[in-house]
């Protein structure tokens, strides 16, 4: 099976890509997929721990399963709207 993984914001710069197709032997948890992507990549712990993950456009938990054909988006903390937190 395969999943399509999308990267946004600062992650695009860290990983130097916007998306990729990842082959998997079978359904895996979000946590396991994150671990696999992170193995070969740079980026500090706080970035990886702060990420939200969406499966097919819906926020998912770390234990949720990723299945064949899913679109999985890795989302850094968002900053839409207006200026900084202040």
């Amino acid at each position: 099976m395969h999943v399509e993984v999308l990267y946004f914001g600062v992650l695009k710069d860290v990983l130097r890509r916007e998306r990729e197709r990842i082959e998997l032997a079978g359904p895996v948890s979000v946590e396991a997929l994150l671990g696999r992507i992170r193995e070969t990549e740079r980026g500090n712990d706080s970035l990886w721990e702060s990420l939200a993950v969406a499966i097919n456009g819906v926020y998912a938990g770390r234990g949720d399963l990723v299945r064949d054909g899913d679109e999985v988006a890795l989302l850094p903390p968002v900053s839409g709207g207006l200026g900084w937190a202040a």
Binding site: L6, A52, V58, P76, P77, G80, L82
Partner: protein, 152 residues
Amino acid sequence: MRVEFYQSAIPSDELLDGIKAGPDGAVVLFDGIVRDNTRGRKTLYLVYEAYEAMALEQMRGLAAEAVERFGVRDVALAHRLGRLEIGETSVLIAVASAHRGAAFEACRWIIDTLKKTVPIWKKEHFVDGAVWADGEPFPATIVPVAAPVTPR
């Protein structure tokens, strides 16, 4: 409920005029604009990007939830994407209601929630480089807080 992304200027007047209806006693308008500095560092321009399909669904959900929670009549929500110059509108929220109190509350709730939950990011361009803005941490309902490491 009108909820949209714009690649060019948000038509603020049109959105404001379009939302008014007979039963309304107030329209509260929030116009978020691009500031010329970040903590004193001079900003040249911003670039906004979104996970568009999901962000649009999330914004529609916020508009609908605001109507439900605060009892306002209608909400219009527009967000800009791409490059924005200083002073341009990045986000526009209009809330129409019979009474002003509910409209103020709903408008504030929408912008505060949008900032934390809708997948939109901005990159700030300065004279000497560019950085992705630090977002606020996601609410615990979206990303559970990691368990603190117990010191031995």
